[in-house]
């Protein structure tokens, strides 16, 4: 089972690969980082990230809208719950 820190590391890796222009913000992102205002994640970037999360963690996002995820913690919580 992955720890929350390990999940955060993998999320940072996904974003660091995708967003070359925002490396500094991503590197210092923690669970309280706002996805829209601090990381600039628009709906298409969220879609990209969720697809990558599904591939990386082998989970499926079902019955949730992207608006349900405001900060990194929301994503980590979802992954943690669905990894169990």
């Amino acid at each position: 089972m992955l720890s929350r820190n390990e999940i955060m590391d993998k999320l940072r890796d996904i974003l660091l690969f995708a967003d070359e222009e925002n490396k500094e913000e991503i590197a210092k992102a923690d669970e309280n980082t706002d996805l829209a205002t601090e990381l600039g994640l628009t709906s298409v970037k969220m879609l990209y990230m969720v697809i990558a999360i599904e591939e990386t963690f082998d989970i499926r996002f079902e019955n949730v809208g992207f608006n349900d995820f405001k900060i990194m913690k929301d994503i980590v919580d979802y992954i943690e719950t669905n990894l169990k």
């Binding site: 690969f17 995708a18 019955n63």
Partner: protein
């Protein structure tokens, strides 16, 4: 093994209502619109086979109907706002196999419906401006990059179509069909955000090129 079992479990799409509407409207529509298709080049003339994504400029609410007359030999699955699936006319939009999308709160279920449809060899049609353009067809609004994510999964081609704005009810329907674009060939299946933006820009430029072809022919 598990994947193939999932596919066989899927309900077969019922096209009875779709085909009824299409056949019933065919003759009156052909008389009304007298569609004229132009093509960017020889590659664009080839019939579209298998899963693909059609993108077009959005001048008015009848555009989905017009596109049926452009690529008449295929059934289209239009991506439409979820509000159309919730009002009084919901039965119609469901019947003609539209795929609803909640633009204010996107879900992976929508993404999977679109990408699964293309993987099953279906034709999905969407308007990347996201709404009827604000200039009444004179200028195109900025394209939204969501279409790129849809086409990336499975590497389906994107076929751009430009529809000339119809000035009168009886104006002839004139369109230019572009050649299929393989975005996976250009950037691979895991592009960065910057590359997705580049692709979106490129597709908008392609639509502008098709518009110029239309202007030069008119």
């Amino acid at each position: 093994m598990k994947k193939s079992q999932d596919v066989t479990k899927k309900k077969k799409t019922n096209y009875l209502f779709y085909d009824f509407v299409k056949v019933t409207a065919a003759i009156p529509g052909l008389i009304w619109l007298r569609p004229k298709n132009y093509y960017e080049n020889e590659a664009a003339k080839k019939k579209i086979k298998g899963g693909a994504l059609i993108i077009a400029n959005h001048n008015g609410f009848l555009d989905p109907i017009f596109l049926q007359y452009v690529i008449w030999y295929r059934r289209h699955h239009f991506v439409c706002g979820i509000e159309f699936m919730q009002g009084k006319g919901a039965w119609f939009f469901k019947g003609v196999q539209c795929i609803p999308v909640d633009r204010s709160n996107f879900t992976m279920d929508t993404y999977r419906r679109i990408t699964d449809a293309m993987s099953e060899g279906k034709l999905v049609t969407m308007f990347p401006e996201g709404h009827i353009n604000s200039t009444g067809g004179k200028e195109m609004d900025s394209f939204k990059p969501g279409m790129i994510m849809m086409a990336l999964k499975g590497g389906h081609p994107i076929i751009p179509v430009y529809m000339k704005e119809r000035k009168h009810f009886w104006s002839r329907l004139k369109v230019v069909v572009g050649e299929p674009i393989d975005i996976v060939k250009m950037y691979g299946d895991k592009p960065t955000f910057a590359q997705i933006n580049e692709m979106t820009k490129l597709l908008q430029e392609k639509e502008e090129q098709l518009k110029q072809i239309m202007i030069s022919l008119s």
